[in-house]
Symmetry: C2
Subunit: 286 residues, 2 copies
């Protein structure tokens, strides 16, 4: 079996590692426009051979693991080149635009739109880790538009990686993921910015920061190359979540200004039920 | 040695556990107005005996580990009761008000104002864990106002728990801690609120949440009883940080509205240097 991984970063690399561990008798080809990443992937060993887009005609499975703007740019070209028995899936954090892009492609049925909810704040081939997807949710969009035999092929791979599948339409995916993922990244980036700006000349102050700050600001380490196009593609939904978030923060601030600390207490108490919700996440995703 | 722990929650309980592990020949007395917490502390075993405020006259060391409003309320009474050779320290997340409160007390020199930067999002006696303070920073304010022999006594205890000490005046403490701790809690609570509000009728959506959301929203599990008085006592500083945070979020939103994704990229890239800063925290505090 010939598996082509396009984009040898955290997600592509981690998938390649899991696939290598699960199967014999396969060759993993790597495609990346960053020559350094390609070489690192070969050194680390999750890729067997370098390849180019023209080689995709020999692919059985193509994993498109590049930033979402690049994915939308190249998906038609990838589908043009692959043979009729290949399945191509992406792993991007936005789904509407890529589904729109491929909807009239003659090989639409070879494509599966996926979003594995997994990752870390790190990026590049050295960020690849085994078992990243174990117990995680993989959201598959417009599954009915993928031929059954290709669904099966991709699902087998996802199942081998330990993922559970949830089906969703692309619009709903993009709307909800804005709340539970994209907004978290902005809140974290802007928290980091606010603190760095203020404490610019007092680096020692960060000695005062504990695990709480570390946890809330962790996502501010994420890759701008990956996240800028996500925010761009999901602009309307992200702006909506940001407006609601800003409104809630402003209201909290106004309560403080009015010395209404009873309401401040209630706000926090009501939000405490995130405990129960997170318990669900922890059980499912770890 | 008689050690009195007033407030048998996460911090008081964890300190009691470490002290019990480090010393023989001591009795730990517990004071808590929550009878259930007192009994749990005895069951868990980090407290040897129940006590009341009148018993404090027998104390060698008093640890005041109650919410900051309660601490300000009782500190004078505690200092009134203790004998001349006792040292009393608090562990609160605000330092200005308690220092103001005790400044003219005849036993001011028996008091040490401390803030160990350690904790989890959990609370109550069952949240107590061993080694919570190991490698953590403990901020001590107005150390010159504490008699040297009492400084020594307290520092020995902090040292046994593995903490390193930083000295700071109470006003600076409250200003900076607003950025690196208090703001994180509000950003997390309001993130939780925003998502819960939106997804009220779609509980399944939380299946889509991954470790990123979990990390940024973790602090929203924190105790309102502990945090409301912190925000109240540090009102001016917290409002200032909130205003700057809201301004940064609003600016980010405006950049998105204007489709200025180059600037969005720069914003994230500039904030990425939080990596280096966090590396410092991780090295120091873990």
């Amino acid at each position: 079996m010939n598996i082509f991984v396009v984009g040898l970063g955290l997600i592509g690399g981690s998938m390649a590692l899991d696939i290598k561990a699960a199967y014999n008798n396969l060759v993993i080809y790597g495609i990346d426009n960053n020559e350094h990443h390609l070489n690192r992937a070969l050194e680390i060993g999750f890729v067997d051979k370098k390849a180019s887009f023209d080689d995709l005609e020999r692919a059985d499975i193509v994993i498109l693991a590049i930033p979402v703007n690049a994915a939308v740019n190249v998906i038609s070209r990838v589908l043009d080149v692959v043979n009729d028995n290949a399945v191509v899936f992406d792993v991007g954090s936005t789904k509407y635009l890529i589904c729109e892009k491929v909807k009239d492609h003659p090989k639409r049925r070879n494509f599966l739109a996926a979003h594995p909810i997994a990752g870390t704040e790190f990026s590049g081939p050295d960020a690849a880790v085994e078992n990243l997807f174990k117990g995680k949710t993989n959201i598959v969009c417009e599954v009915e538009k993928t031929a059954f035999k290709f669904q099966e092929k991709a699902m087998q791979l996802f199942s081998d990686m330990g993922m559970r599948i949830r089906y969703m339409d692309p619009k709903s995916h993009d709307k909800h993921i804005a709340y539970v993922s994209h907004l978290s990244h902005i809140s974290s980036f802007m928290l980091g910015k606010t603190v760095i700006e203020k404490e610019r000349n007092e680096r020692d102050i960060f000695d005062m920061a504990g695990s709480g700050f570390e946890s809330t600001v962790r996502l501010a380490k994420s890759s701008p190359e990956m996240w800028t196009p996500i925010f761009e593609q999901n602009k309307e939904n992200v702006i909506e979540t940001l407006e609601e978030y800003i409104e809630n923060l402003t209201q909290f601030k106004e309560l403080m200004k009015k010395d209404d600390f009873n309401s401040i207490h209630s706000e926090m108490e009501n939000t405490n039920r995130i405990k129960e919700i997170l318990k669900g996440i922890t059980t499912n995703n770890k």
